[in-house]
Each structure stands twice: as structure tokens, then as C-alpha cells.
């Protein structure tokens, strides 16, 4: 599956009219080239999960798209307009892996600061205080917040004002699972009519949120495909039963689980029906391995 770049072009999904194109992108830092000939176009609302091992170039890709790093060659376009132009950048929200919140301010003051930069209103600040559930510490100094709370304030910035394309670099890192799930659901909601590029080290999260997957390795694009295509090629299911059963004797074992590879997740309901018809009393059925792990190797 890996190593085959796939061009994604609009077909049946109505987009918000925006497109993001990276064309033969080479970029990096003064003494360290990172991205090599990265080309892709996204032009439909969805979450595009950008995956890759450390140093693969995910953050560099986001920084280049955001116009922070200037490509050594190649270009980034938003709706055909080079990202170097401000009108193009105005279509983008960028959330770096750093919190990016000035010290010495309260939560509300820092959001007011961002609202000024974003040309958002105080009503927008009030809205995101509720949306991100940070109102209870709105008058607390940033330096007094936990890492998770700071991350929520940081994420709140991208909800201050709507834009067409969102670049989110590890937005749920250091968040507890509950908050991370809430953030993911906000992002999924957002992606109904927005393009969201979302980098993550968390493969299960990527699996859960992504409709498309983009993988980078050594600064090169190695895969761009629909998530279900990645899933269907490597779907391993695990079953735990209430008591031992000979029906599953020919399955593999992994800890307490009987495991088996299926052609895809759509086979799971049929399998469960078959097992129950054979008298197997199921305790748990789960996906055992994240197929995205293969993309890292």
C-alpha cells in the first residue's frame, strides 16, 4: 500500500470551493533540506491525516504551507493563488505543535490578543470560551494552567474565526483522552465543509478521525489515499469469548484474543452473526492492529 502517491481530485463530494495544492515542493531549513518533491492537491472538505515517523517532514510541510518557511523550489497554492500572498494566507488557520500563547496573560486576555490578530470580535471570544469549555479558567493566568488546559486555549484560537483550510499540527498531543475526543469531534464537525490537514503520532486517533491519509517518509510523499483503502487491506479483528470454544480453534491467538484478518470492516457484522449462529458467546470484538502502523515502516 505504501509508496504509491495517489492524486485526489474532486468527484462527487461538493467542496467549499477551496483547494490546496503543493507542487514539486522542496523545503526545509537553511542548513537542512527536509521536504523533497512533495506534490498533492486537496480540494474537498475532509480530514487529511498527515502521518510519518519523527523527522519525516510533517511540521515542515505545515510550516511551508502556512508560508512560514519559503520553499527552496516548488510552490504552494490556495485556490490557484500562491501562499506568499496575504489573500491566500487569509484562507488558512495554522495551529503549531507549540502552544503559542504569550506568558503573563490570562486566558481571556490571550484570546482577546488572538482575536485582534484574527480580526475576530469579543463575541467570538465568548463563544469559544464555551465551545472549548475553558470559561471556568478564563481569568486564570496561562502560566497557572496545566499542559492540557493550555492546549485547549491554543486550539480555541482556530475557532475564533472561520477559514477554509485548517493546518493542525498534533492538536491533541498532551490532552487527556476525554478532551482529545471532544476536540476530535469538534474537528470532525469542522471538516464537513472545511479542509483539515491534521498531523498526528497517534495512529488510532488518525484512524478514527481521518478520511484521507497522507504519509511522509524522509521528506517525501509516500502515500495519499482514502483511509478506508488503507483499512481494507489490513484489517485484523480480535474476539474474546465468555468461555473457550472449539469454533475458533483455527484462529490465531494474541493474549486473550482470537485474531483473524478480514478483507475489511464491513465483514465484521456478518462474522459476528456467523459466530453467534455457531453458539459462540462473544464478550468483546475489536480491531486488533492499526493498519496505519505499516505505513511507518
Amino acid at each position: 500500500m505504501s509508496g504509491r502517491p495517489v492524486s485526489v481530485t474532486p468527484s462527487h463530494v461538493q467542496g467549499n470551493g477551496l483547494s490546496l495544492t503543493c507542487r514539486s515542493l522542496h523545503s526545509g531549513y537553511r542548513d537542512k533540506p527536509v521536504l523533497h518533491d512533495v506534490s498533492f492537491t486537496v480540494d474537498r472538505p475532509a480530514v487529511y491525516v498527515v502521518l510519518g515517523p519523527n523527522g519525516a517532514g510533517k511540521t515542515t510541510l505545515f510550516r511551508t504551507i502556512a508560508g512560514i518557511l519559503r520553499p527552496t523550489s516548488g510552490e504552494v497554492f490556495i485556490d490557484g493563488v500562491p501562499v506568499a500572498q496575504q489573500s491566500s494566507r487569509d484562507q488558512l488557520h495554522y495551529l503549531s505543535h507549540m502552544d503559542g500563547i504569550p506568558d503573563g496573560l490570562t486566558v481571556r486576555e490571550s484570546l482577546d490578543f488572538y482575536a485582534q490578530v484574527e480580526r475576530a470580535t469579543s463575541a467570538d471570544v465568548e463563544r469559544v470560551l464555551d465551545q472549548l469549555e475553558i470559561r471556568e479558567f478564563s481569568n486564570t493566568f496561562i502560566s497557572k494552567l496545566s499542559a492540557g488546559q493550555r492546549k485547549r486555549v491554543s486550539i480555541a484560537r482556530v475557532f475564533l474565526r472561520e477559514r477554509g483550510i485548517y493546518l493542525l499540527d498534533e492538536p491533541t498531543a498532551s490532552l487527556d483522552p476525554k478532551v482529545a475526543r471532544e476536540i476530535r469531534s469538534l474537528i470532525l464537525e469542522l471538516s464537513k465543509d472545511r479542509i483539515v490537514l491534521y498531523s498526528s503520532h497517534n495512529l488510532f486517533e488518525a484512524h478514527e478521525i481521518g478520511q484521507f491519509v497522507i504519509t511522509l517518509k524522509g521528506g517525501a510523499l509516500t502515500l495519499f489515499d482514502r483511509m478506508e483503502n488503507v483499512r481494507s487491506a489490513h484489517f485484523i479483528i480480535g474476539v474474546r469469548t465468555l468461555e473457550p470454544t472449539p469454533v475458533l480453534a483455527d484462529w490465531g491467538r494474541k493474549g486473550d484474543y482470537y485474531v483473524r484478518e478480514l478483507p475489511g470492516p464491513e465483514q465484521v457484522p456478518t462474522l459476528i452473526r456467523d459466530l453467534e449462529a455457531q453458539g459462540v458467546r462473544l464478550r468483546e470484538v475489536r480491531e486488533m492492529e492499526n493498519p496505519l502502523e505499516d505505513l511507518f515502516t
Partner: protein, 207 residues
């Protein structure tokens, strides 16, 4: 914090010199730029802190240019200098007048020729150097970091001018004006190199 410390020190210092009458004009006003430097380091401090925290990366992504970030740091430093000089001169003049001394033309003359220009220019130079230095160097803290060394860089021109002016007291005014012109040219020269010395990638958080 630097503003509070600098403000507190300058009030104490100026008020004490004001009690000495003419000493405030002859010595107090010429040492005021040293306090301005200690209080005016805030612009460079905020820049360094914002870079480390990723705030600058965010601003650049939203189209704020490095030049504007530098000018904001400069403006912040200059506002702090204004506060330091304001409270210092007010404290000095107040105790000077309360001690029964009459104001002479020498005071505004010294302030206009030396105290104000030297304070503003040295803080401009210190902030610009501090911002470029921070941007171009790897992050470190302590006395060998740009922020650790910066106050000494800021105080140096004032110290040199004072030594020269005392040594060649007949030419004190010319020495002060010459030093101010030299600092102005250094600052101007640095500012014209902003794009080269402050590329956006150097504003990224090092972590």
C-alpha cells in the same frame, strides 16, 4: 518585571540626587540612560520569550512580518524607557524643587542633548541587537545568552561617553552628540538588514 525594578531604582536614585540640588543636573541626568537600559530591556525579553513559546511562529503564519515584530519590540522598549525617564525625572525634579533649589536652563539642555537621545538610542540599539542575536543564535539561558549579555551592551555606550566626557570635559557636548550620531547610524544600519538577519525560519520555536 524589569520595568518595575528599573522604575523603583530610578525613583530612589533621582529623588536622592534631587535632594542634592545641582548634583541632579550635573550627575543625576547623565546617569539616567543606565536606568533606561535596565528598564528598556523588556522589548527584547518579550521577543525572546514569544519566540520560545511559539507565539512568533503563529504571528508569522498569519502574515505578520518579521520587520513588524521587530518594530513592536522596539516600540515596547521605547515605551518602557519613556516610563523610566518620566518617573525618574519627575522624582528628581520634585525633590530638587522641594529642597528649595531653582530650576535653571541647564536641566532641559542636558535632558535634550544627552539624557533623552542617549536613552532612546541605546535602547533601540540594544533591542535591535538583542532581537537579531536571539534570532540567529541557538537558544540558551543565563549570563552567556543574548538576554544575559544585553544590559552590558546597552550600558557600554553610556559608560564610554561618560568616561570620554569626563576626560575631555571641554568637549563633553560634542562627544555626546558624536556618540548619539554613531549609535543612530548603527541602529539604522541594523534596521536595513532586517530581512537578512531575521528570516522567518529564525523566528520559529527551537523546540
Amino acid at each position: 518585571m524589569s520595568l518595575l525594578v528599573g522604575g523603583g531604582m530610578v525613583v530612589f536614585y533621582s529623588a536622592a540626587f534631587g535632594l542634592g540640588g545641582p548634583l541632579f543636573v550635573s550627575i543625576g541626568t547623565v546617569v539616567l540612560p543606565v536606568f533606561a537600559v535596565s528598564g528598556g530591556i523588556g522589548g527584547a525579553l518579550v521577543f525572546t520569550n514569544d519566540r520560545t513559546k511559539g507565539v512568533l511562529e503563529y504571528l508569522v503564519a498569519y502574515g505578520v512580518s518579521p520587520r513588524r515584530i521587530l518594530f513592536n519590540a522596539l516600540a515596547s522598549g521605547l515605551v518602557q524607557v519613556t516610563i523610566i525617564l518620566g518617573v525618574g525625572i519627575t522624582a528628581g525634579v520634585t525633590t530638587y524643587l522641594l529642597s528649595g533649589y531653582a530650576l535653571t536652563l541647564r536641566l532641559p539642555e542636558t535632558l535634550l542633548i544627552y539624557t533623552f537621545p542617549m536613552s532612546y538610542l541605546t535602547v533601540c540599539m540594544m533591542t535591535t541587537l538583542g532581537v537579531f542575536w536571539t534570532a540567529l543564535s541557538s537558544p540558551r539561558s543565563g549570563m552567556n545568552s543574548p538576554i544575559g549579555v544585553l544590559p552590558m551592551v546597552g550600558v557600554l555606550p553610556t559608560a564610554v561617553v561618560l568616561v570620554l566626557a569626563l576626560t575631555f570635559s571641554a568637549h563633553a557636548t560634542e562627544i555626546a552628540l558624536g556618540a548619539e550620531l554613531a549609535i543612530f547610524l548603527v541602529v539604522l544600519s541594523l534596521l536595513t538588514r532586517t530581512d537578512r538577519l531575521m528570516p522567518t525560519e529564525r523566528l520559529l520555536s527551537p523546540t
